[in-house]
Every structure is written in structure tokens, then in C-alpha cells.
């Protein structure tokens, strides 16, 4: 629990904005994959972590600058995502339809398998080291009035929002974006107008995994890379993507992520820090729990009670 001084509150808000930016990026990435392909891709956590490890390896072995390591890591994540789609999800989705199973559940369980394989394969490949660091970023603190922010915070903020806005622009103003939106709306119908949804699935896995990979590299630069790096962000990505709405624009999803970061940060002013994840998941719980309540029906029911009095 923090002291309620103006400086503290501003610092907490700044922290919330930067955490929220990370949530925004992963929420947009996860939401794009789920909403377009229908894959409940929890192995997103693996591609997130893989990017961090690849970036660390590029920095350590090739001594390349941070931004190239970031690019390399994100591209590796992108490739891994595409391979998962082509080698596992797509063949399974075709079989699931034939077997009469719930495709979403099949994808979820397959993704679980991929997560377990990925996480432990990464752990096996770095058995001697419990964590690895990403080198090459000159992270310095900057004092802006009473608030301290870091160059890493700024780099994340700018990169994330540029990517989110770029994705929004691609979706809204390009032919590819129209195709992605068509598949998201109705993939069977998109076939009828000459779009191959399986290719679009590859595209969203490539983009989504890339964006997730960028977030993973930044996170590992801040802390360090461990095989479990991706699990907590996965949960946040789920919350952001679902609460924002799966058919929402990246900007809306991003803003919701930012909002979540702020709410979580502000809650730390009144709660002990270890309770802040509880706030996020309590929000999720109540959001999901209250979602089926038909507010429209409730309003109507209340209105109906008034009707006889008015007419009678």
C-alpha cells in the first residue's frame, strides 16, 4: 500500500500506463488470433517466451544491437505461431469437424499440448540457466517532475502504440485488412468470395505472434527470460481481448489494456501489491458472470411493471 501523496499517485499512474501498454499489445495480438481463426491459442505464451530467448541469444552470441535482437525475436515468434497453425491447429480443426467435437475445446486442448511442449523444451534447452538476460539496451531512469520513468518504458510505449495503430490502419484501409475482417465475420462465406481463410489464419498468426513477441522481448529486457515468462501475460491477454470484445478494433482493445493497467495500478494505492492481480481477475469474473444477464430484458421487465399503471 502506498502513501497517498501527489508524487506517489503520479508515479503509480505512470506505472499503470506502461504496464497497461504491455497489456494492450498482448491483448490486441491474442484477440486478433482468436477472433479471426477461432483458435483458443494459449500457446501464445510459448511464442511470447520464445521471442525473449531468441532475442537474448542474438544479443549474446551475435552481439547485434537491441533493436535487431527485438526484430529477430519477434520474427522467430511469428514463425513459431505460423508453424503451430499449419502443423497442428489446421489439421486438427478439419478432423474436429468430422468427429463432431467442439472445435474450440479441441483447439484449447491442442494449444495446451503445444504450451507444455514449448515451455519444457525451452527449459530443457537452457537446463543449466534458470533465467537469461537480454543485453544491449541502455536502460536509464529519467525524472519528469516527481515521476521517474525509464528509457525502456518509453521504448515500449512508442513501439507498442505504433504497432497497434499500424495494425488498425492495415485492418481498416487495406485489401488484406478487408480480407481479415471478412474471415473474422464469416470464414465460410469468405470462401464464396474467393478468400482462402487458411491463408488469412496464417497471416493473423504471423502478425499476432509477432506483436506478442515484441511484448515478450520488452518484458524479458525489464526482468529476465524464464520458461514461464509467458503465462501471466497470457492471462492478461485473455482478459483484455475478451472484455474489449473479440470483434473490436485494435485501438479499442489497446485502450482497454491501458485502462486495465491503470485500474490495477490505482488499486495498489489501497491494496497490498500482491492483491492487485486479484483485482484484475475479479473484474474478469464479474464481467463474465454478469454478461449473460440481459439488461435489456431487465429494463423491459421494470418498464412492464409501470405499463399497467400507466394504461390502467
Amino acid at each position: 500500500m502506498s502513501n497517498l501523496t501527489l508524487g506517489n499517485v503520479l508515479q503509480v499512474l505512470a506505472n499503470g500506463i506502461f504496464n497497461g501498454t504491455a497489456y494492450a499489445l498482448i491483448g490486441v495480438a491474442f484477440g486478433l488470433i482468436l477472433s479471426v481463426s477461432g483458435r483458443f491459442h494459449i500457446a501464445f505464451a510459448v511464442t511470447y517466451t520464445l521471442a525473449a530467448y531468441v532475442a537474448a541469444a542474438i544479443g549474446f552470441f551475435l552481439h547485434l544491437p537491441f533493436w535487431l535482437a527485438l526484430l529477430g525475436g519477434a520474427l522467430a515468434a511469428s514463425l513459431a505461431g505460423v508453424l503451430m497453425e499449419r502443423l497442428v491447429y489446421l489439421p486438427l480443426s478439419l478432423r474436429a469437424v468430422g468427429a463432431g467435437s467442439d472445435p474450440l475445446l479441441v483447439m484449447f486442448v491442442a494449444s495446451l499440448g503445444l504450451s507444455v511442449i514449448g515451455r519444457n523444451a525451452i527449459a530443457l534447452s537452457t537446463l543449466s540457466a534458470s533465467s537469461v538476460n537480454i543485453v544491449g539496451f541502455d536502460n536509464r531512469g529519467l525524472n519528469v517532475g516527481p515521476v521517474t520513468i525509464t528509457t525502456l518504458n518509453i521504448a515500449l510505449f512508442v513501439t507498442a502504440w505504433v504497432l497497434i495503430l499500424a495494425l488498425a490502419a492495415v485492418l481498416n484501409y487495406t485489401a488484406l485488412g478487408r480480407m481479415v475482417r471478412a474471415v473474422r465475420a464469416n470464414w465460410e462465406m469468405s470462401l464464396c468470395v474467393g478468400i482462402d481463410p487458411t491463408l488469412i489464419f496464417v497471416v493473423v498468426f504471423a502478425i499476432g505472434s509477432f506483436l506478442g513477441g515484441v511484448a515478450g522481448v520488452f518484458q524479458a529486457t525489464l526482468t529476465s527470460a524464464t520458461p514461464d515468462l509467458g503465462l501471466p501475460p497470457l492471462f492478461y491477454a485473455l482478459v483484455v481481448a475478451f472484455v474489449a470484445g473479440l470483434n473490436s478494433s485494435p485501438i479499442r482493445v489497446g485502450l482497454l489494456g491501458l485502462g486495465l493497467g491503470l485500474v490495477e495500478a490505482l488499486s495498489s494505492l489501497v491494496l497490498r501489491t500482491e492483491f492487485t492481480p486479484l483485482v484484475t481477475f475479479a473484474i474478469l469474473f464479474f464481467y463474465v458472470a454478469l454478461r449473460p444477464v440481459k439488461f435489456d430484458d431487465l429494463r423491459r421487465a421494470l418498464g412492464r411493471r409501470r405499463t399497467p399503471a400507466a394504461t390502467g
Binding site: 478432423r95 499440448g113 511442449i117 530443457l124 537446463l127 492481480p277 469474473f285 458472470a289
Partner: protein
């Protein structure tokens, strides 16, 4: 001796996870409710036991009972928001529950924080100390057998039949008078309770209650065990657990990997097994009954020409067609030799209590708007005993909406619906069905992964085996009634000419056959009022005749029938009274002949002669 203890420690692990997996299977495989919070329910049981033993110095058995009850209560509470959710939202909700419970046990200091509760030792059961794996084995074995029996009784019984119907089609299940919410709540509570029990076993096993024991990856492992073994198959769950738990000793003891590497390789292998099983055997290593039966049928079909898609009419149907041919097209009376006896044998007592033509259902001023669209406006109509009433009109007129309003699927904004004098507005579809009004659906809605016979058995009302207490308290009676229900259902299947297909998965039947199964199912409810939504649509001429003959037989027995139908020949043949609907309003009514001679309707809808 050391080897024995080691072997038994693996066996104990298997038993614990069997309890987790069996209970999750009941929820996921039978009822179709995915949960990634099962380990968290285990945490409730495990931590409760640990806390009570350490702080209240309670005995292991009492603490276990309280832990189990606590987990059941938490499960019951979670069930409420889960009642109306689809798979993705259910995963999300249970993920939130999993995270919240784990965050709580990790942050609450009396529960030991990150390290959890340690040294929960010195436990005894009936004076028998639980110190070594060999001490725990008999105790765990007894619990596992009990959990298996409870799950088997719940799953492989009329109760379980309702659960599987919920999994296959919740709306159709409610239309047969089953209170889906009650079933879901009970199953959530019961399975969470059993998970709590397994969690308590887990804590007894290692004398520690710590967060990693009950983390998200444990929950997801349980989901995987159920899927690998076979969703809806209890023996499958045991196989799933054995495969995945015994990968540990395989790598550590047989392949002699180091402890750290073995743990990681085990998990990699676990993931690979999971994906391979999904690819090769999507229904699991040992699938549920219907899938196994269907598999056998498909194997048989590969060797011979006959199969569910190549329908050979039942002898009754052949016979009927011959009779129809003999009667000629002008003769509209159809005779089904066996059917009369069956309808008489099964006829609802209420149907006989009243004269033909008495008003059974009366609708006054029924209205419903969706935003700016009027789906039903001030509808007045009556359904009379022993008569067939038809609702006709162009697409979008609101005919199916009327069925939805009458059966409680949609709540009207205004108006009253009197069934046998009782206002049923505000009742749920299952309450309406129990009161004697059942419906069929335009798109059939059979339970695809259940046999045709099970589909029909679900229609039979007042089965003691569908309730929790008699299921365990009066086993002989539930079994006797179950035999009667099966016999009656076979008669209904025979009535619609589907006897030979009783054991086929309904989803594997041709569309016309599914319609007949759905008709047998709605007849089996023995409801006084039957609402049949386009009974003759989407099926070929032969089936139309069969269907119409059956509906006429139902009328002859004094049941009240209302049909929504586009096929005017069907309406002409069946309807005693016809309502014409346009844009949510009834704009004309009378006999079919009267409506077709109305100049405006003839031009606008029926077509001029």
C-alpha cells in the same frame, strides 16, 4: 521395501488424479461444461484440511469431509454465473476462478503464503497412521472406488442421460421438461466436491498444501487427462491418468534420465501424447459408449452395403405405403397397424378427460417486440382438444416466435397464455413442458451424440432416476422404472418406424429419420398439447406421407396439435382450423378452404388457381 514404497507412491498419485479426472469428466465429458478451475476446487479441499489439522487439531477424516463440503459450496456458487455460458466464456470464467482462488491462498498469511501450509503430518484414519505410501494406498483406493461409483451412478443413469442431453443441446433438453439450471448447479457442486476430496488426498499424500499443487497447469493437466482418455468415458479417464502420470517414472526410472531432465521430458512427452491422441483418436483412447458403438457400426459398414445413410424402411412403413397406394390419393386416412395400440397404451390420461373440441390452450393479447420489430402483436388464438390447428403465413410472419412465446423460450411483453386454465406466462420452457405442452423444432435438434433410443427416453416424464436422491436412495425402483421407460420408448420408436435404428447415434441418421426420432421424442413426453414446427419440411415425399399419417393418428387419440407449416398440401390435409399470420399479426382465420378462397390472401400468399 523401498521399491514397494516408491511404486505405491506412483500408485497413490494415480489414484489422486483418477479422482480429479473422473469428477472433471462428469462435468466436461458428460455435461459439456469445460472447467480450468478443477485444481482450484482441489485447493479448497486441500487447504481446508491443512488448516483444520494444523490449527483446530482436527482428525484427517473430519477435515476431509469439511474440505469436500467447502469445495462443493464454492462449486455451486461458481455454477450460477456459469449457467448460460458458451465454451470460450466458460473457460474464461473458470480461469478467473482458478486465478482468484490461487491468488487468495497465496496471499492470505494464515494459509502460509507462497510456501503454503507445511508439516501437515501425524494424520490417522481410524487409528491407522498415514505416514508412508503403503499406509495411504488402501485409504486412497477405497476413496477412489467410491468416487468412481458415484460418478458412474450419476453418469450412467437417467440422471447422466440428462447431463449428456445438456451437453448435446441445452435448448432441446429444456423443451423436454428438464430443469437444466438445476442439473448444472448440482453437477458443478458435486464435481467440485469430489475435486476438493482429491485435493485433500493430495495434501495428505505429501503433508504440504502449497500453491503449485493446485496451479493452473494442474487444472489444465486434468482437462488433458479427460480428453486423452475419452470425454464421457469413465474407464477412459483412468487410462488418461495412467498414461500421463506414469510418463514420470518412465523417464526417471526406466530411461534413467536425471531427476530435473526427467521432469521436463515427461512434460514434453505429455504434450506430444496429447496432440497425437487428438490427431489419431479425437474421441480419446477409450471413447464413450455411443462413439464406440458408432465405430463398430462404421467398421461393419465398411464390409457391407447397408448403413445409416442408406435407409431401408421399416416393415411398418413399407406396409403403410402399400396401404396408401391401395387407398388411392383421395383417401386421406392412414393406417399404421401397430401404432393405434401404442398410442392407446401410452395415451395421456388427460387427453381422455374432455370432449373433442374443448379449448385446451387459450391465448389472449399476446405481444412481443424486439427493438423496433414487432414479432407478435395482440395475438388471440385457441387450440382445441382432438384437433389440429395450423399456423401459416409468409416467412418472417412470426410463426415460430409464437411457439417460442407459448413455450416460455421467449417471454412476451404482454398477454396471457392459459393452458388448461392456468396462466403459464413467465414459466420456463421446462416448466411448460412439465405442465403438458411440448414442442418439436424446425431444425430437429436431436441429441446427436446419443442413440435414437436415448433421445426418446429423454422425452418420458417423471423418471425417479433423473433426480439425485432416488438415484442413490432407491436403486431397485429407479432400475425398474428405467426398464419400463426403455420399453415404452422402444414402442414409440416402433410407432414412427425407427425400431431398427434404436441404437444408432441420432446425429448419424438421415434428416428424415431424425425428424421421426424427434417426433417419437416429443410424443414420449405424453404432453396434451403438441406444437410441431414444420414437421414435413426438408423431407422427401415418402417421409411426408409417413409423418402426416402419424400426426393424424395422434389427433385421433384426442391430443391437441398445433403445426407451423409452409407446405399448403400438408395444411390442407391436416388442419381443422387455420390461422393466417402476417408481420406478427393474425390477419385471418378459418378452415383452410375459407382462407384459400379469400381473394386477398389467394393473391398475396396462396397463389391464384
Amino acid at each position: 521395501m523401498e521399491n514397494l514404497q516408491l511404486t505405491l507412491s506412483y500408485v497413490d498419485q494415480v489414484l489422486i488424479f483418477v479422482c480429479f479426472a473422473l469428477s472433471l469428466n462428469l462435468l466436461q465429458g458428460y455435461t459439456g461444461q469445460v472447467s480450468v478451475a478443477h485444481a482450484a476446487f482441489g485447493a479448497v479441499g486441500g487447504y481446508t484440511l491443512g488448516y483444520l489439522v494444523l490449527n483446530a487439531h482436527m482428525g484427517a477424516l473430519e477435515a476431509m469431509v469439511i474440505g469436500t463440503a467447502g469445495a462443493a459450496v464454492v462449486g455451486g456458487v461458481v455454477a450460477f454465473p456459469a449457467l448460460r455460458l458458451t465454451t470460450e466464456w466458460l473457460i474464461l470464467l473458470t480461469l478467473a476462478v482458478q486465478t482468484i482462488i490461487l491468488s487468495l491462498v497465496t496471499t492470505v498469511s494464515v494459509l502460509g503464503g507462497t510456501y503454503g501450509l507445511q508439516n501437515i503430518s501425524g494424520l490417522t484414519i481410524f487409528g491407522h497412521e498415514l505416514a508412508n505410501p503403503s499406509d495411504m494406498f488402501p485409504f486412497f483406493a477405497v476413496i477412489t472406488v467410491l468416487v468412481y461409483l458415484v460418478c458412474w451412478r450419476l453418469g450412467e443413469s437417467p440422471f447422466g442421460r440428462v447431463l449428456r442431453a445438456i451437453r448435446d443441446d441445452e435448448i432441446a433438453c429444456r423443451s423436454l421438461g428438464k430443469n437444466v439450471f438445476r442439473y448444472k448447479t448440482m453437477v458443478f457442486a458435486a464435481t467440485a466436491g469430489m475435486a476438493g476430496l482429491a485435493g485433500a488426498m493430495q495434501v495428505i499424500n505429501i503433508s504440504v498444501a502449497s500453491p503449485p499443487l493446485f496451479a493452473f497447469d494442474q487444472s489444465s493437466t486434468m482437462v488433458a487427462m479427460v480428453v486423452v482418455g475419452g470425454a464421457g468415458s469413465l474407464p477412459g479417464s483412468i487410462i488418461g491418468v495412467m498414461v500421463l502420470v506414469l510418463l514420470g517414472p518412465l523417464f526417471e526410472r526406466v530411461l534413467n534420465f536425471g531427476a530435473d531432465a526427467a521432469a521436463l521430458w515427461r512434460l514434453v512427452a505429455f504434450g506430444v501424447v496429447l496432440i497425437v491422441v487428438l490427431m489419431v483418436r479425437p474421441a480419446g483412447i477409450y471413447p464413450d459408449k455411443t462413439t464406440r458403438r458408432l465405430g463398430k457400426e462404421l467398421d461393419r459398414l465398411k464390409k457391407g452395403p447397408q448403413g445409416p445413410s442408406e435407409f431401408v424402411p421399416h416393415p411398418d412403413l413399407e406396409e403403410m405405403k402399400v396401404i396408401e397406394d391401395q387407398l388411392g390419393s383421395d383417401e386421406k386416412t392412414t393406417v399404421l397397424p401397430r401404432a393405434v395400440g401404442i398410442v392407446e397404451a401410452n395415451g395421456n390420461g388427460r387427453a381422455a378427460n374432455g370432449a373433442r373440441g374443448d379449448v385446451v390452450l387459450s391465448v389472449k393479447g399476446l405481444s412481443k417486440r424486439f427493438g423496433g420489430i414487432t414479432a407478435a402483436e395482440n395475438l388471440d388464438m385457441v387450440l382445441r382438444r382432438g384437433m389440429i390447428t395450423a399456423l401459416v403465413g409468409p416467412n418472417g410472419a412470426g410463426k415460430t416466435t409464437v411457439f417460442n412465446l407459448l413455450t416460455g423460450a421467449i417471454r412476451p411483453d404482454a398477454g396471457e397464455v392459459l393452458l388448461g386454465g392456468e396462466d403459464i406466462v413467465g414459466l420456463t420452457p421446462d416448466q411448460v413442458a412439465v405442465r403438458g405442452m411440448a414442442r418439436s423444432f424446425q431444425n430437429v435438434r436431436v441429441f446427436p451424440r446419443m442413440s435414437a433410443l436415448e433421445n426418446v427416453m429423454l422425452g418420458v416424464q417423471h423418471q425417479p432416476g433423473e433426480s439425485f436422491v432416488p438415484l442413490f436412495a432407491n436403486i431397485p425402483r429407479t432400475q425398474k422404472v428405467e426398464r419400463e421407460v426403455e420399453e415404452r420408448s422402444r414402442e414409440w420408436l416402433s410407432f414412427v418406424g425407427m425400431t431398427d435404428f434404436a441404437d444408432y447415434a441420432a446425429g448419424a441418421l438421415a434428416f428424415g429419420q431424425q425428424k421421426l426420432v424427434a417426433l417419437a421424442r416429443v410424443l414420449a413426453t405424453e404432453a396434451e398439447v403438441l406444437l410441431l414446427d414444420e414437421p414435413a419440411s426438408g423431407i422427401d415425399f415418402q417421409w411426408v406421407n409417413v409423418m402426416l399419417g402419424l400426426i393424424e393418428q395422434i389427433r385421433e387419440q384426442g391430443r391437441t396439435v398445433c403445426i407451423v407449416e409452409h407446405n399448403l398440401h400438408v395444411v390442407e390435409r391436416l388442419a381443422d382450423h387455420t390461422y393466417f399470420m402476417e408481420l406478427g399479426r393474425i390477419t385471418a382465420q378459418g378452415s383452410f378452404a375459407e382462407l384459400t378462397t379469400d381473394k386477398r390472401l389467394a393473391e398475396a400468399y396462396f397463389g391464384t388457381a
